[in-house]
Amino acid sequence: MVHQHFKLVDVMTAAENIVIGQEKGVFTSKKRMAQEISALNEKYGLKIIPDKKIYNMSVSEKQSVEIMKILYRGADVLILDEPTAVLTPQEITALFDILRRMKEQGCSIIIITHKMAEVMDISDRVTVLRKGESIATVVTKETTPKQLTEMMVGGSVSLEIERPKVTLSEKPLLSVKNLTKRDYEGVNVLNDVSFDIYGGEILGVAGIAGSGQKELCEIIAGLDKANGGEITFDGDSILGLSPRAILKKGISMSFVPEDRLGMGLVAGMSVTNNVILKSYNRNRGPFLDRKFAKSLAEQIVSDFDISTPSVNHEVKKLSGGNIQKVLLGREIWLAPRVLITAYPVRGLDIGASYNIYRVINEQKKKGVAVLFIGEDLDVLKSISDRLMVIHSGEVIDIVDPEEVTKEDIGLMMLGHHREEGAV
């Protein structure tokens, strides 16, 4: 089983991670581990350096190590949970090559994914699950994405993400100029980032996870300090303002981190309490207006169709999709003029994802400037009005999503500029 979130020990080498739980005898031998690993490397076309530490590895290398862990155990059945969520298109192609090779060697592979294109590309047969029930198993060649989606959602849905035309505001609502941020080791995590967002526009951001998305969000929201550059909102500089002051101006952020609960919501608190976290200071006096908060929570629950036993239910006991709806619902209720949303559909099923796209589009129609940080390039291409590609904290290019191919975007995500001829 290859988990969606890797289960690797960072400070150990690839070899050590692979043999955990499998060593015979009392002592470990680096030489023997390396030999066994290179034999498997050759057999399946993997490229793992046994002595490399995990923390020095890229995401796709880590994934190879996870796959190797399974092969090392001599398993014939491989289960991959959302293996492509963090990979670039090129890395996905490489992964699929390895998987095909394993298939030829007689392995059985189960791949769990929410990306329809991949299902059609790699699988021989597809099983559709819905709410813990197996709906149907079909042969891939005899089916279509539309048919599969209908089975998943249990009704007909349109797979088109609409991109309503909205008249843009005259001036950019939010503009970021030459923003630079260094981490504590002095490495630039954001390097000279500049962009504008107009009201009524969705600016998509594509990039490999950890390319500076988190830092960008945090600086705009006032949670982190920049080392240089400026951010203006409607003409006023907002750099250095406190998060509350920024929130008051109408900039709202919903960041869905990998573990979904990292920031934004407090896992052990009820839906109501989470909802008032950002609006408690609107009422006067030392006591909370619980009645108002409760009705607000109930409104969000019904508006967003969140399934929860009650608004007093702890957030951590809800499913991932519902948690994200609570987060997004709260941010939108604040009626922001700029909405920053990062990975809002992470881990959601197709039906819930489309709901969220719809909600974001509605905000756009209201004239809100939306910064949409996403993972799925298909979605990014269809929802954004303009698409910004970042790599290691640098803006590689801002492109018209209609004009570029996914492969181009993938190359840019790896840091190649379009002029460099590699495309």
Binding site: M1, H3, F6, K7, L8, V9, D10, V11, M12, E16, N17, V19, I20, G21, Q22, E23, K24, G25, V26, F27, T28, K53, Y55, K69, E185, D259, K316
Partner: protein, 314 residues
């Protein structure tokens, strides 16, 4: 020549004064490597000191005394392991409580044996002896090769612990448990077993370390005999970056600071003894300040240190 001789005697004393700390640091490292902060080191040392002393007095058998001391430390560690691993209690609080319990336990046991002196059979077994030729090496000869077997045992234990942690299969698994228990679990490592085994092993060593003070160093019972050595050990675990070989250095360095206290008076240097007694503790604080400045990944604490492991947690 005279100065050389003086230095070699000073080093010999320093090593003796660092021995109990060395046991405790190594025990603590083993415990922390599986992801458990154990603040009960002091308590387990005291339990070991009291039990070791009692058994030494009543049986006169040195081996039994050491084993009893280890068993007492292990019993303390068992309480800690049960609460933190099985019941997933808070490690810091549990460790603190273990220390308070251990202090009380040692005081209680010690009351019945206070006034006794360790019998000659035990004293002679742990008397410093010269290893021929080696002990004549200038400066470090006396420090390493003209010592009690108990002192040398500490060195051997530290070196063995290094090999255990870094070169064996069990060591690899225990490190995996301490760094990322979910990864270890998914790879088929029994997390609970490895936690228990290593916490108990660590407790055993702490107990043995405590007994060094009561049966070898002092040979009489004295209340609160460790005088905070367990706490210093906890700090030195970080100083040694979880590496038993560096623990040797750390322990003997602190032994030196303690040794200064004795020697300075002999050398006729007038420094208030209270100031010298304070030195090891000041040094601990200084050391902790400096090591937080280090950034190298390998020198960081085990990643899952302090977190109870619960398979279904997300």
């Amino acid at each position: 020549m005279d100065i050389l001789n003086e230095i070699s005697l000073f080093l010999q004393t320093s090593v003796q004064m660092g021995t109990h700390i060395l046991f405790a640091i190594v025990g603590g490292i083993i415990c922390e490597k599986v992801g458990n902060t154990n603040l009960g080191v002091e308590g387990m040392m005291l339990m070991g000191a009291a039990m070791g002393f009692t058994v030494a007095c009543s049986t006169g058998n040195p081996v039994l005394a050491v084993l009893a001391a280890g068993a007492a430390g292990l019993a303390g560690a068992l309480i800690y392991a049960f609460i933190t691993v099985t019941l997933r209690g808070n490690q810091v609080v549990t460790g603190l409580v273990l220390t308070i319990f251990g202090t009380g336990f040692a005081g209680f046991i010690g009351k019945s044996v206070s006034g006794n002196i360790v019998p000659e059979s035990v004293v002679s077994a742990f008397r410093p002896y010269d290893i021929p030729i080696l002990c004549d090496i200038p400066i470090i000869g006396k420090a390493l090769f003209s010592q009690s077997i108990y002192v040398q045992m500490a060195l051997v234990v530290a070196i063995l612990a290094y090999f255990y942690i870094n070169k064996t299969k069990m060591g690899l698994y225990m490190r995996a448990v301490g760094e990322n228990p979910a990864a270890a679990d998914a790879s088929g490592v029994n997390v609970t077993f490895y936690k228990y085994f290593n916490i108990l092993l660590g407790g055993f060593l702490c107990g043995v370390g405590g007994a060094y003070l009561s049966i070898v160093f002092l040979t009489t019972w004295q209340d609160n005999v460790t005088a905070g050595a367990g706490w210093i050990a906890v700090a030195l675990i970080i100083f040694s970056t979880w590496n038993p070989l560096k623990a040797i250095l750390a322990a003997y360095l602190f032994g030196m600071l303690k040794g200064l206290n004795f020697k300075m008076q002999g050398w006729g240097i007038q420094v208030p003894s209270q100031f010298l007694e304070m030195l090891p503790y000041v040094a601990t604080i200084v050391v902790l300040v400096f090591i937080t400045l280090r950034k190298k990944k390998e020198n960081q604490p085990p990643k899952a240190l302090g977190d109870p492991y619960f398979r279904e947690e997300r």
